[in-house]
Amino acid sequence: MMHADPNCVLTGTHFMNGDAACCEGAIAAGARFAAGYPITPSTEVVERFAARVPKIGGIFIQMEDELAASITLQGMVWAGAKSFTVTSGPGYSLMMEHIGFAAMTETPCVFVNVQRGGPSTGLPTLPAQGDMMQARFGSHGDYSTISLVPNSPQECFSLTVKAFNLAEKFRVPVMFMMDECVGHMTEKVVIPDAKEIEVTPRRHASKPPSEFLLFEPGEELVPEMAHAGEGYKVYVTGLTHDKRGYPLMNPASQKELIPRLFEKISRAADELTIVESEGLEDADVVVVSYGITSRVAQRAIEMARAKGLKVGKLRLICVWPFPEKLIRELAPKVKALVMPELNMGQVVIELERCAGGQCKVISVPHPGGTVHKPADILAAIERGAQ
């Protein structure tokens, strides 16, 4: 484990918005390169990055579109850099192909999506959580990635660092699923001393080129990586490939490659069960939420407790992979799971599947544009408690 570069970390207490904090998180995590394309409400991240990184040896390039941005960043990664891109709604849709490319080529990188209302151009300046299923399943083909969801500017900093660390550890594209509200919300953000910020280094080739296979599963099923210009003659393709990286398009090589891309994530299920919980032990109803919605849910929980209801809180910080085991254990012990989301019911589908009919699952959908009224969540809690 390494630590952040003290020359680049803005250690101190700040009053900054989520977009700015995300930028600082990326810098603290070691990102010195990014490619982007302007889109509300995410642009502030790269605007700040463009001002910050030249002085610390980095480059931000504004590409001609999101298709370009989402692959340029991967060129940067294969040249040895840590890199990311930032977008919202329509831009995220355009980036889907390259999320698949990153998954297939095991390119460690971060895609930040500051979610806004949709579909299509929707609500550029207002929040939603409508891209959660897209984060999981958006690209064609079958793959598994990680999605983190912050609920405050402070977490936009700390979880961005974590997103980069997980990307390096698992060699996957990590989805950082902010929303307009969190992105534009300004709060106190404490950036710790660089020494307290752990940074996961790249899993770099430990063997000389003559013995090295670019896609040979190493420790934890994750291959080591060599970069362009290091003499390894890497071969990277989006086609199904063998351990050398050479295209090998048959059922056997598909079977060897694709399940491993899933398994490297699924075998770390415990590590990737990143939640914040409270009062689950004796709860009748548990409110399951993520992102900005979790803050509103918290208020509803407090209102319900004031009425004497036994309500627990389960906040998903890592939504994908979904904390299946936790839900399977929880469902038989409660009357109901209540899930408010700023969409018409996306992650609740997974919640329902994992609850397996052991308890009621109550979706509290919201089309976005603002957040729930705590009273609406309270009403669902009361229904669940009956």
Partner: protein, 297 residues
Amino acid sequence: MSTTADLHIHNPVEDVLRKERIPTIWCPGCGIGTTVNSFAAALLGQDIDLKKTAIVSGIGCSGRVSGYMALDSFHTTHGRAIPFATGLKLANPELNVIVYSGDGDLTSIGGNHLIHAARRNMDIMVVCVNNMIYAMTGGQAAATTPGNSITTTSPFGSFEPEICLPQLVDAAGAVFVARWTAYHVKQLERTMAKALKKKGFRFIEVLTPCPTLYQRRNNMGDGLAAMVDYKNRSKIRNGAPTYEVALEPGGEIVVGEFVDREREDYLTRMRRQLGTNYSELPPQPEEEEQEGCCSSC
């Protein structure tokens, strides 16, 4: 006849090929492999560090070139070789970055990236193998398909005018623009050698036969017939204004080095513009202390 083993000689192109991947997937009479010979000769004839040379392709028949070259090879997504190459170059300016891809890939789905990389004068070399058809997907009309051609998606003859690539990239700001055909192996080698040594956005179009998916449907014979046709129809006009080099069906094929000019490339201009705002920090020791916070939040 002595054997090559006796003489300790081998095909020089093999020095830059992933031999274990030969034979290629290309059809008999396809010209892509021919362009690779010129490229290999150009690479080997230069003082170029092959360890620092990366080749990037998109999708399509020509998109497979990257994977046959024993360089750092990146076979990316359809149309996006240029932005990927841009990322490589920016994060490691020491790399020689070459994009080698097809006409459909680079000029249609990737057309926007082509324009903007030329505009930025990104320091990469682009070889566009133009076989005038979407070949790998089965012979559909491309932006480069000559007017009236029969293709699977223009069964009654295409009726879209074809794009003139040298004129496009010239207008967008490329510093080096050339066109040859697969027949011009030596000229192509020399042009590639020159382009490899030049800084900025360099673009070389190479017309190649596609006997299987273009010529067959248009009664144009095999690959060899196309090569002979190139030989007969080509006219070398170095320095020709690019607005005069459009390809007309059956007309003259103007080839040569059309544009060779100087313009500050992206990274040079970036460094100049940023001035003291840009610093390439050496890796910092972890122990160093950092005090306080900045108020620029």
